[in-house]
């Protein structure tokens, strides 16, 4: 049985039945007797001082139960940043308070300054429109470089728009500068990593409940990270004791990072529930999602690559401005720094790396981790400048990469950006990519495209990322204010089936299918008898949530450790039942047997014995069969890959079409290849979307112009090619028990530079001297670049 559904089996996702047939149960599906509705009044201006808020007309509207403004939350705490970054001069970052509702000032379009609670959503909406706010407008701070030069501050109390000025690694700066100074060739590229709206299919929703009998709070919310939300609400924002607050994230329709964080709406519905003794629900509409979900990326970078005569990389040096928006979201300071700067050595033996990141406050929505979180920005900068360098020095881009790859015998490899890569084989990935993508056939395909009047380009990319975040000891040194372990409880029920409580939250990743495969493999039982419980702080031991492709590597490892404990205890029980010494009992394929005899008991019999402990050695073994493990990894995991794609560019219109896309990834061991392939597909779609279509635009007044699907171009099926996905070249992670690395973000990390490199290759093949186009590479931008190149 386990071999059919255990490790390595391409089992279909069991959760898809309910997701695909409308049987999922999302937060907004939860209807409670007597619930009322919250609607937020949000700023239509980007920056201004609140002179007055008059709620009297709104309060008199039908059905209105309560109105909250920033004044009501003056006494409570702010929503904190989870990671302390120190500037190059040792100064800690600036951390202005992020209140539940705007107080004193509004700082971005969509910043909530009041909330109306009414019997119905419609009544609350009507009343919210009657709130009179008088705002003295200020100039909006939008452009990052202007923000640093100007004297209009998003947060007046800190007297600057710079959150921090970070150097990584500061001690390597002089050596890097010297290497660049004396280099044979230096390639310089300035680029923009375009700002993205996460666009989870399910918008955010929060339901606050207060039990007037017990004083217990319950929050149902669209979260990737319910325990962190509970922790922040308890320790920082609301002061509700953790034991009096349950946070439940039921089915969640996608997150991509945007639902990792705690948002003010969650605190508001809890405060309102307490005040009214009623259940209070808020569901974001799509316009609110565009304005208030934490956005992604938004880096402006200058990168330099220094090479010697043979094409050996001598140094990478970058200067990046990273937009953090109007307030610090929970991971916003980690994303452009430790999830980005530490990856700036890429897959290469380059000896010198220096990264400078200035994080800048602007009057825009907060920016935080979005699928890939810092690593896509690193990979994009590296792989674009390498491609440009190859062209400048006249070397094949694959050859240049191979020349500088870390070789398989060099692991563990200490990168110049401060990480220790544990395993990998980048040449094997490249070999496989060239093979499965039929690189040899490219010339013929190019000729065919040209015969149709189209320019065809081949783009390549190599990436390495850091997943499975991460060792608490390490991240603690680096400024993290939380630990990044995870936890699992394996409960064997009396009748032999299992409930596995996991800290990782599943919102599209397939945990409900994959985690049982691991346990089934270990216990030799039917995975169908194992269910995953997640997303409810009252049911699971603890968890640090799902992000950074960490679920399997960290939480999956906790599941392994807990299952190992189960096996140890079950073996003792079996030994008692078999009247043998535990050392003589062997567990295999779901059966405990005494070595060298035909005596055995099944796993199910042992489970029953644990709960009906008649004739049980209670002095040696406790009844019951349930074990918990916390797992804290020794290192990040380092997935890597070699990607390529082919594009066709219409030289008349600038339209780009991705024609073939190949992703060869090293995810270490693979538990469920079908789920992994699906994860890569999703990442590729988002990466191609970033490369060709998606862009978030604020005008100079801080008005969000791309705030609906009319103006924000999401990729659709017909914008995307068929993919070739290969994960045959895995090298096992050396430090977690499953040898897994994480696959959730790779597609979004590897694909954007691949696409842009291919577009440049296509234009060059057509005699257009275009060396760079910023994403999204829209027809207008391609056409303009061709025109400007003459």
């Amino acid at each position: 049985m386990p071999k059919d559904g255990g490790i390595g089996a391409p089992t279909r996702r069991r959760e898809d039945y309910r997701f695909l047939t409308g049987r999922g149960r999302y937060s907004d599906d939860i209807k409670t007797q007597g619930e009322c509705a919250a609607i937020f009044a949000r700023s239509t201006v980007a920056h201004g001082t609140i002179k007055s808020i008059d709620t009297s007309a709104a309060a008199a509207m039908p059905g209105v139960l309560a109105i909250f403004t920033g004044e009501d939350f003056v006494e409570v705490g702010g929503n904190p940043a989870g990671w302390l970054i120190n500037s190059r001069d040792g100064e800690p970052m600036k951390e202005p308070k992020r209140p539940v509702l705007a107080h004193g000032k509004v700082r971005h379009v969509g910043d909530a300054y009041a909330a109306v609670i009414a019997e119905t959503v419609q009544q609350a909406r009507d009343a919210a429109e009657m709130i009179e706010i008088d705002i003295e407008e200020h100039d909006a701070v939008v452009n990052m470089k202007d923000a640093l030069a100007g004297t209009t501050y998003v947060h007046d109390e800190i007297g600057t728009n710079q959150c921090f000025d970070w150097g990584w690694i500061e001690d390597n700066r002089a050596a890097t500068d010297a290497a660049i100074q004396g280099a044979h060739h230096v390639t310089t590229l300035e680029l923009v990593n375009n700002r993205l709206v996460p666009n989870a299919m399910e918008t955010r929703c929060s339901i606050g409940h207060y039990d007037t009998g017990t004083g217990d709070y319950t929050l149902h919310t669209t979260s990737q990270n319910p325990h962190l939300t509970r922790l922040l609400l308890s320790a920082f924002v609301m002061g509700i004791p953790e034991n009096k607050l349950t946070v439940i994230a039921p089915d969640v329709g996608g997150g991509f990072g945007s639902k990792i964080y705690h948002y003010g709406e969650e605190a508001l519905v809890l405060a309102a529930a307490k005040k009214l003794g009623r259940t209070v629900k808020w569901t974001s509409d799509r316009s609110e999602a565009f304005q208030t979900d934490a956005h992604g990326r938004d880096h402006v970078t200058k990168i330099e690559l220094a090479l010697d005569e043979e094409g050996n990389f001598l140094a990478f040096r970058t200067e990046t401005h990273a937009n953090v928006g109007a307030y610090l979201s929970n991971f916003s300071t980690a994303t452009p720094t430790f999830l980005h700067g530490t990856l700036m050595a890429g897959n290469y033996t380059v000896p010198n790396v220096y990264v400078n990141v200035k994080a800048v406050f602007t009057n825009t929505a907060p920016v935080d981790a979005y699928r890939g979180a810092g690593r896509p920005e690193a990979t994009y900068s590296l792989e674009r400048v390498i491609d440009m360098a190859a062209r400048e020095i006249g070397m094949d881009p694959i050859e240049l990469r191979r020349k500088n790859f870390i070789k398989p015998d060099q692991y563990p490899f200490a990168s110049a950006a401060g990480l220790e890569y544990d395993s990998g084989n980048y040449d094997a990935l490249m070999d496989q990519m060239e093979k499965v993508a039929d690189k040899a056939g490219f010339a013929a395909r190019r000729a065919e495209s040209e015969s149709k009047g189209l320019l065809r380009g081949f783009g390549v990319n190599a990436y390495v990322e850091a997943c499975g975040i991460a060792p608490s000891n390490l991240v603690g040194v680096l400024g993290s204010r939380v630990g990044l372990y995870d936890a699992a409880t394996v409960r064997v029920n009396a009748t032999g089936n299992l409930s596995v409580m996991v800290g990782a939250h599943s919102h599209g990743q397939g945990h409900e299918t994959v985690f049982p495969q691991v346990v089934a493999e270990m216990l030799g039982i039917d995975p169908g008898s194992i269910d995953i419980v997640h997303g409810d702080t009252s049911k699971i031991p603890f968890g640090m949530g799902t992000y950074g492709s960490r679920s399997l590597a960290v939480c999956g490892s906790a599941v392994v450790r807990a299952t190992e404990k189960i096996i140890v205890k079950a073996t003792k029980i079996a030994a008692h039942m078999l009247e043998a010494d535990a050392a003589d009992v062997e567990f295999k394929d779901g059966t405990f047997s005494v070595v060298g005899t035909n005596q055995s008991v099944s796993f199910g019999e042992v489970a029953l014995k644990a709960y009906i402990p008649h004739q049980f050695p209670i002095e040696d073994i406790e009844p019951g069969l349930e074990e918990t493990a916390f797992y804290d990894p020794a290192n990040f995991t380092y997935p890597s890959g070699a990607y390529c794609c082919e594009v066709e560019v219409d030289p008349e219109t600038g339209k780009v079409r991705v024609n073939r896309m190949t992703a060869v990834d090293d995810f270490g061991n693979v538990i469920n290849p079908m789920v992994v392939t699906g994860q890569v597909h999703g990442g590729l779609g988002q990466g191609i979307g970033q490369a060709l279509m998606e862009n978030t635009t604020y005008d100079s007044d801080g008005q969000l112009l791309s705030a609906s699907y009319m103006d924000y171009a999401m990729p659709r099926a017909d914008d995307l090619p068929f993919y070739t996905v290969d994960h045959s070249q895995g090298t096992a992670c050396t430090h977690n028990p499953l040898g897994v690395k994480g696959c959730g973000e790779a597609g979004a990390i590897g694909s954007p530079p691949t696409v842009v490199n291919a577009v440049i290759d296509a234009l060059q093949s057509g005699g257009k001297n275009v060396t760079h186009i910023d994403m999204p590479v829209t027809p207008h931008r391609v056409w303009s670049a061709m025109k400007n190149a003459g």
Partner: protein
């Protein structure tokens, strides 16, 4: 967005100046204006119904006239709040030049929108603002050249408040206006 233009009005500078300060003239000339009360000194309170892209809204706001240099120049600025639709605000720097019996009216218009109007209407806002300005000065020219009493057909078109109708009416009105102008 910003736009600049000029019109030659077949009236002397004093007549044009007086018309610029007349709430009835302004009401007739602001496209979609359904109410206008107040005075040039105190400012006007106005209600304007307009449709921008997919959003139709009633804007309540104030129109103010400032920087007055008699018979030479002034600034008209307005800000309208459209509730959930967001806001629109704009200003026109107007300069008058005497040219024989006529007056050349030069204008620099700046228009801004915010909130839902910007979020959903940004693609059409430049065209919309340009159309609004054009219509305003077209109406103004007509009003002045016909005399200060105004013209009833023009008034009903300008204050119909029905944006889709106004859109389809617009070319016709422009056409009639041009005929009258000659």
């Amino acid at each position: 967005m910003n736009l600049t233009g000029s019109r030659t009005i077949n009236a002397d500078v004093k007549t044009v100046w007086a018309a610029l300060l007349d709430p009835d003239v302004l009401k007739d000339c602001v496209p979609g204006c359904t109410e206008m009360a107040g005075s040039a000194e105190e400012g006007f309170e106005a209600k304007v119904v307009q449709k921008v892209g997919p959003i139709k809204a009633t804007f309540k706001g104030i129109v103010q006239i400032s920087d007055r240099i008699e018979y030479q120049s002034l600034k008209i600025s307005g800000e309208g709040k459209g509730g959930p639709a967001g806001f629109a605000k704009g200003g026109a720097d107007v300069r008058l030049e005497e040219q024989g019996d006529s007056t050349v009216l030069n204008y620099d218009v700046e228009a801004k929108v915010g909130g839902k109007l910007a979020q959903l209407g940004s693609r059409v806002i430049d065209g919309f603002a340009s159309k609004m300005a054009d219509q305003f000065f077209e109406n103004f020219q007509n009003a002045v050249e016909k005399g200060p009493t105004g013209d009833t057909t023009d008034e009903s078109a300008a204050s119909s408040g029905d944006a889709p109708a106004a859109e389809t009416d617009e070319p016709k009105k422009g056409w009639l206006g041009r005929i009258r102008g000659r």
